[in-house]
């Protein structure tokens, strides 16, 4: 990792993927959270 450009490419690329996955993961988490509400 010699140049800032390489570093940014690496970190930002990873950043997007991680954020995307977390966003998707939020849906099952929300459903898990509010499951009981919907049954009642």
């Amino acid at each position: 990792m010699y140049t800032l450009f390489d570093f940014l490419t690496h970190t930002k690329g990873l950043g997007y993927i991680v954020a995307g996955l977390l966003l998707l993961a939020y849906i099952p988490f929300w459903r898990f959270l509010t499951e009981r509400e919907r049954e009642g």
Binding site: M1, T3, L4, D6, L8, G15, Y16, A19, G20
Partner: protein, 345 residues
């Protein structure tokens, strides 16, 4: 030596953390690929013969600059690099009474931290370990953000081509460098105004020239730090502003400024769902509460109305009953009176 239990545990944790902390603590430094190449452009030696333009055109198989090379009319207007001329020489200072005119060669500066590479949405630019910044036309979609972002206005675009327009710029003769040769312009320059070599050595050479001839040079190597430093280094006898070389607003590389905001983006992706669904839940609950209150209010109102109705009914019934009694009494009395009159008559 007695080691108390807490001391022992504390020491162990400290050691464990300490090992990991060694490299994490330092701020990230990016010195760039060691031993990468650069070029030193000494504008006090340049005589404006434009051999470099001709050499560059030959090496890149581009049309030679129009007209004879030594036609001084060309210097009347200041030119810029175009898609068919990857480098141009401009005259920046007319010949003062006591000296020769000052020329400078324009081309892509091959920055250490190229902002053209940073802003490209398809990563078409790559900063090679040898130094040049290379462009890959196979992925470029022609958005031209690189041309807009370059602070030196060094990039050009083939607007006239329909199917295969490319971004055109100096490649520091990358194929020649890989063959161990010197870039075309450096080889062609008769006055040695363009010297090719390792960037660090060229900086040392430039400093030595300034030290040896203090009144010939402005004591500044342009490109050593500007926007994070460039592969092309410029020495000049006149202030750099006169050579249209902006004094480098900052030594911080442009990619650092350009992408500083992007750090927030993943945060928006992760924070917003919680925030918004929280708001949505809040507004739904608010609506639910509002509905409940409404029902309760209606219920109460109904109940209230019901009670009033009962009361009213009760009073009405009472009154009715009394009226009836009174009516009955009156009737009875009247009957008695008629009876007494009947009896009497």
């Amino acid at each position: 030596m007695s080691v108390s239990r807490r001391g022992f545990i504390g020491g162990a944790i400290g050691a464990a953390l300490g090992a990991g902390a060694a490299d994490a603590g330092t701020v990230k430094q990016f010195p760039g690929h060691p031993g990468r190449y650069g070029l030193l452009h000494d504008t006090t030696l340049c005589v404006g013969c434009r051999s470099c333009e001709a050499a560059c055109a030959r090496v890149n198989e581009l049309p030679l600059p129009p007209g004879p090379l030594d036609d001084a009319e060309v210097f009347a207007a200041r030119r810029r690099t175009t898609d068919t001329a990857l480098t141009v020489v401009n005259r920046y200072v007319e010949a003062p009474v006591d000296g020769p005119p000052v020329y400078r060669k324009l081309q892509c500066m091959h920055c250490n931290e190229p902002c053209c590479a940073t802003v490209c949405p398809v990563h078409a630019f790559e900063k090679t370990p040898e130094g040049p910044v290379l462009y890959d036309p196979e992925v470029c979609m022609g958005c031209r953000y690189c041309i807009m972002a370059c602070p030196y206005n060094a990039l050009a675009y083939e607007y006239d081509k329909v199917l295969t327009p490319r971004v055109m710029r100096c490649t520091m003769c990358y194929p020649r460098i890989k063959d161990g040769l010197v870039p075309g312009c450096a080889e062609a320059c008769p006055m040695g105004a363009i010297t090719f070599g390792e960037r660090e050595q060229l900086i040392a050479v430039a400093r030595e020239r300034i030290r040896k001839f203090p009144d010939r040079y402005v004591d500044h190597i342009y490109g050593e730090h500007e926007f994070g430093g460039t592969s092309w280094l410029v020495l000049s006898g006149t202030p750099f502003e006169e050579l249209d070389l902006l004094p480098g607003v900052t030594h911080e590389p442009l990619p650092a400024i350009g992408t500083s905001y992007l750090g927030v983006v993943p945060l928006v992706i992760t924070i917003y769902p919680g925030l918004l669904l929280g708001m949505y839940a809040f507004s739904k609950r608010q609506q639910a509460v509002a509905k409940e209150e409404q029902e309760r209010a209606v219920g109460a109102a109904l109940a209230q109305a019901g009670e009033d109705a009962q009361k009213k009914l009760a009073t009405a019934a009472e009154r009715a009953a009394k009226d009836k009694e009174r009516a009955v009494e009156a009737a009875v009395k009247k009957a008695l009176a008629e009876h007494q009159q009947g009896g009497g008559s």
